[in-house]
């Protein structure tokens, strides 16, 4: 799984430009899934057929990552940018970006009156080494991702776009290990989660699942002076209860907790105050879809060095398998 994850996190795939990631995933699951298709908005949908007596489950992880798009090139060849998804400038000064063409660039910042104040996005620029505007190899509309390789620190991994290539890797791993299931399981690798969840929204509409789960990362409360949050790295995958976009269907939460307990998989319960996932868009699709979310604890989300613990990842896959192998019972509180 680590090799697959490395390929995925080092791929290029800002919001709306997920082609490279989709190609990597397709290669990884070719021959493993019973059916693979791409929907009109670019989401990759792989189906594992069940024995026919189960339900239709949709598991979704998003392929896109946050990135930048060029809005202006000045006379000296410096590019100004705006964000694709939520970008925190403080994480990126002195960092590097990579454009679809492979072109690299350095992220610089204007001189500021007060160096103690974090810069705004419009105070950043990209230096691609151009001498002037005519020789600048990038143009308005070119898209870049942050450039960073994956590294291991003990049993913890750091990389850009763990959010949510980690979820993609976990779905691939689940698909590989899933021998038999009563259910028809849809593995959806969605587009544009970081802005509108357009990919998951439209996939849910066409698939019409009985139940859906989003697999994504969530930030933690275990770093110095963090916002209080009862989720820590290494304490197990988190079963979401609530975030700023949704209340998880309590029947789905109970089902997830029950399976985790039966399989003796450590888990945490997540309440996220800022942010949401594809689950929010799926839940409100058509006449409503009971939807939950499995979150992997991740430090420094939306930075180029998102950190996860491999034990959480492994337990997350185990929980996904426990959920899709057995009958799904959604009962009222």
């Amino acid at each position: 799984m680590k090799e697959t994850l490395q390929k995925l996190v080092e791929s290029f795939g800002p919001v709306g430009y997920e082609d490279e990631v989709r190609a990597v995933i397709r290669q990884e699951i070719e021959g493993v899934a019973d059916q693979i298709s791409v929907n009109k908005l670019g989401s990759l949908i792989a189906v594992k057929q069940g024995s026919g007596r189960g339900k239709k489950i949709m598991l979704v992880a998003h392929m896109d990552e946050i990135g930048l798009i060029v809005t202006h090139i000045d006379a000296r060849g410096f590019a100004r940018v705006t964000q694709l998804g939520t970008v925190y400038p403080i994480y990126h000064i002195g960092g590097r970006v990579r454009f679809a063409s492979g072109q690299l660039g350095v992220i610089g910042v204007d001189r500021r009156e007060d160096n103690n104040k974090p810069p705004a996005l419009d105070q950043l620029y990209i230096d691609v080494g151009a001498k002037d505007k005519p020789s600048c190899p990038v143009q308005v509309g070119d898209v870049a991702c942050f450039h960073r390789s994956m590294e291991a620190v003990g049993n913890r991994l750091i990389a850009k776009s763990m959010d949510d290539r980690l979820g993609c890797a976990m779905l691939i791993e689940t698909l590989r290990r899933l021998r038999t299931t009563p259910h028809e399981v849809y593995f959806v690798f969605s587009t544009q989660e970081e802005m509108t969840s357009a990919g998951a929204r439209t996939a849910a509409y066409s698939i019409e699942p009985d139940v859906a789960l989003a697999i994504d990362v969530t930030d933690t409360g275990d770093t110095p002076r963090a916002l209080p949050k009862a989720v820590e790295l290494g304490k197990g995958p988190a079963i979401k209860l609530q975030d700023s976009g949704m209340i998880v269907d309590p029947r789905v939460k109970e089902w997830m907790v029950k399976r985790a307990r039966e399989a003796r998989i450590p888990y945490q319960l997540e309440i996220l105050r800022g942010g949401t996932t594809d689950a929010q868009a799926i839940q409100i699709s058509r006449d409503g879809i009971p939807t939950g979310s499995l979150s992997v604890p991740c430090r420094y989300t939306h930075s180029p060095s998102e950190m996860v613990d491999m034990a959480d990842v492994e337990n997350g896959v185990k929980l996904l398998l426990a959920l899709v192998k057995k009958p799904i019972v959604l009962s009222d509180e």
């Binding site: 609530q242 209340i247 269907d249 309590p250 939460k253």
Partner: protein, 350 residues
């Protein structure tokens, strides 16, 4: 119908967004007395169907009133106290000193929202609003005991019985939007005595306070020909000004603006005029902030109207409402529905 008794019962029943099981049972029992059929849909909306007399062309009008209320979820612990996360638009200014109920797995525990004594605060902090992160719930348990009784994810609701004020006004929690649920009950009862062509599908929606999930999904499932969202609106009170507030006891408001199909607004005004019912025009320049906002863009679009019940002290445990406005709102809805025919349906696309 004893509107006061119904308002009291609905207000005092718990039903936080996403966890509407108890209030749903109450609503289905109340509405069920006046309709042909009731059901609960996939996401927990309460649906009640009262059939119209039309043999052909079954047109459907959906009435949406949300039954969820704001509250909290336990998010963490410290020294035996509970830290909570808000469900819906909680107003931190009104919280210290409130009584709450912690709905733990085994049983309901009484609790209070603790407050630091003014004597211990720095002078500067005494006039400041305490943010939700600084509010702690005291259930009386010692640190070592608390995890035995309470878990992360347990719900916390405001504990408050309805108080009757002068002039028959009622004060209590969750009149946003149980007042409208009661108004729909009044409407359904009246429809027993009014000939109506269209089928009426009343929905008590879930999760309006968080995402309007229930409104969007039920509208998709029902695919009505028209819809009315009934929700509370701002009552005139001390400190309020401008044209966004409406006096109590002057009847329901009828929304006018981009969320409302003009024919729906006009139809509601005409219905009020036919029976000489007090009503007020409520301009809504953008989102109505009600279930109607999402309903109107479901499927190929649903002609939507918005009716409001004036309410003072919104999103506090002492929301003030007039039962007479609730009754008048029910009468307005019934009169409007009684007037629905094929001509009205065709006028929607003229």
């Amino acid at each position: 119908m004893d509107v006061n008794a119904l308002l009291k019962k609905l207000s005092q029943t718990t039903g936080l967004s996403g966890y509407e099981t108890k209030i749903r049972a109450e609503v289905l029992a109340e509405w069920g007395r006046f309709v042909d059929e009731t059901r609960t849909d996939k996401v927990g909306n309460a649906v009640a169907v009262k059939r119209g007399y039309a043999r052909k062309a079954h047109r459907k009008i959906m009435l949406a009133s949300h039954m969820d209320e704001i509250g909290f979820m336990v998010a963490g612990f410290s020294h035996g106290f509970l830290r909570v996360s808000p469900i819906g638009g909680i107003d931190a200014r009104v919280l210290p000193g409130q009584e709450v109920i912690v709905h733990s797995r085994q049983r309901d525990l009484p609790g209070i929202i603790s407050s630091t004594p003014p004597h211990l605060l720095k002078p500067d902090d005494r006039s400041k609003v305490i943010s939700l992160d600084q509010l702690w719930i005291d259930v009386g348990l010692a640190p070592a005991q608390v995890n035995r009784f309470v878990s992360i994810g347990d719900l916390v609701s405001i504990r408050r019985d309805v108080t009757e004020l002068k002039n028959g006004l009622l004060a209590g929690k969750a009149f946003d939007n149980r007042a409208s649920v009661a108004a729909v009950a009044v409407c359904l009862e009246l429809l027993a005595t009014i000939q109506h062509q269209w089928d009426v599908i009343a929905v008590a929606t879930v999760q309006e306070e968080t995402s309007a999930l229930g409104a969007a999904t039920s509208a998709f499932g029902i695919a009505p020909d028209a819809a009315i969202a009934i929700d509370v609106t701002y009552g005139v009170q001390y400190g309020s000004a401008g044209n966004e507030v409406f006096p109590l006891d002057k009847g329901p408001t009828i929304g006018i603006g981009p969320n409302m199909q003009p024919k729906m607004t006009q139809g509601l005004i005409e219905a009020a005029q036919r029976i000489k019912l007090d009503h007020q025009i409520e301009p809504m320049a953008g989102s109505s902030g009600t279930d109607g906002w999402l309903i109107q863009v479901v499927r190929e679009g649903i002609p939507t109207g918005v009716v409001g019940i004036p309410l003072r002290s919104m999103h506090t445990p002492v929301e003030v409402v007039s039962p007479r406005d609730v009754e008048q709102t029910g009468r307005l809805l019934a009169e409007f529905i009684g007037g629905l025919d094929e001509k009205f349906y065709e006028s929607l696309t003229e």
